[in-house]
Amino acid sequence: QLLQLNSRKINNSIKKWRRTNVFFVYFNYTADIISTVEFNHSGELLATGDKGGRVVIFQQEQENKIQSHSRGEYNVYSTFQSHEPEFDYLKSLEIEEKINKIRWLPQKNAAQFLLSTNDKTIKLWKISERDKRPEGYNLKEEDGRYRDPTTVTTLRVPVFRPMDLMVEASPRRIFANAHTYHINSISINSDYETYLSADDLRINLWHLEITDRSFNIVDIKPANMEELTEVITAAEFHPNSCNTFVYSSSKGTIRLCDMRASALCDRHSKLFEEPEDPSNRSFFSEIISSISDVKFSHSGRYMMTRDYLSVKIWDLNMENRPVETYQVHEYLRSKLCSLYENDCIFDKFECCWNGSDSVVMTGSYNNFFRMFDRNTKRDITLEASRENNKPRTVLKPRKVCASGKRKKDEISVDSLDFNKKILHTAWHPKENIIAVATTNNLYIFQDKVN
């Protein structure tokens, strides 16, 4: 009887958690295939990159002081073409214009700066506002035509008059020709002067002011390409230590490097790897252990990695195993054969931390995304879908039925749509506002403000 009581108590508290921490839909934007999503440091701006090389930036409305129940909505602030498709004639290679990553610089003045990259070229964009224009020139008409100086009889002082807000994006730096392979990551250093770019085999260090030179800091290309066994999948600078960065590999390892140790960081300072039970090894083991994303916590104490089936939290002080592991969609383990055949097993999911590092989030299939609360150890599955959610409705938790009898409202594994994948998600640095990208749509959710 005691056991029964306890389980009832647990069920009730799980239900309660779900009710109070659910999310409202309030925004939906249709685009080309979204390839990256990133909030800026204040969370006021949200940038998305797409397969067509475009960047769309959303800005949060200023909070309405009367209606303090809801936070501001995000509206389109600026749209620009960041990259164009190119063709490398020498290598007979098409260079896609798809934006792989966007990273914001911290704001230093009135303008905003971001780095955007495709497979080969990184660009620094300046986004600035213009809300005044000069009027009353002596030698120019209002439409710009020059006046005949002999017709000028009086002089006036030109003044700035307000105009409709115009947001302009201009490329300030172009960092090109430094990567033979495809760029998968860019990361701005905490010194705010340098940044790294990583491709499959090399990592380069750049100075934001200098475009004609970059330093190679990691090179894992073997002398003989036949001996190639692993590639770099992601890289990131430590949020506080400007000499430290990590990179993850297709074999499921993470290497932490210290740039003070040597100019070329081929030898790691720390190697993070979870030992594998050799009896469990299968053809799929290495493929599903490939890390698709690595992200430091805001505190800098932890890092999170995403492999095909799980999210792992590592303590930087412990290399031999992660401190926490969360199963994203373990039910896919018995579907690996078909997922290999339709290439889904190679999908690269990203992951993100909330502002206080207490919750982590990642995407899955069927437009599902998952959140894991590190403190309570509870998790939730939500769906980003236009069918089920009108603006301002509460999201209903979802459940996948792995096997056996399917309960009402549960979805069976075989009914999952593997074409509807959520690869990119982002969490506002301060608030409980999240951006979730399905293939063609951007959803922004916020939690209920009491």
């Binding site: 063709f87 007979s92 290679l93 497979d119 299968s282």
Partner: protein, 107 residues
């Protein structure tokens, strides 16, 4: 049950393989030549070669230079056929998706 028949437990373990190993067996049944190097260089090399298109830029630029004034026969809307009759452009060429399925079936 297992206490009465201690050997039964280990027999059952052999039969009940992990779901991953069961999936591996399924895959090997479909593609018997697969997996000499599990997850190894084949995948990685395909990944590094993404974006490869066969295109003779020499022919393309020579033809462009010669026929500056002539009207060129442009590519058919059917982008799967690129023959020697017309001047190809990078956009016309069919995307050569690095197909892992092909490599699975090949030896």
């Amino acid at each position: 049950l297992f206490n009465q028949f201690p050997n039964l437990a280990s027999e059952m373990e052999d039969k009940v393989t992990s779901p991953e190993k069961a999936e591996e067996a399924k895959l090997k049944a479909r593609y018997p030549h697969l997996g000499q190097k599990p997850g190894g260089s084949d995948f990685l090399r395909k990944r590094l070669q993404k974006g490869q298109k066969y295109f003779d830029s020499g022919d393309y630029n020579m033809a462009k230079a010669k026929m500056k004034n002539k009207q060129l026969p442009t590519a058919t809307p059917d982008k799967t056929e690129v023959t020697g009759d017309h001047i190809p452009t990078p956009q016309d060429l069919p995307q050569r998706k690095p197909s892992l399925v092909a490599s699975k079936l090949a030896g």
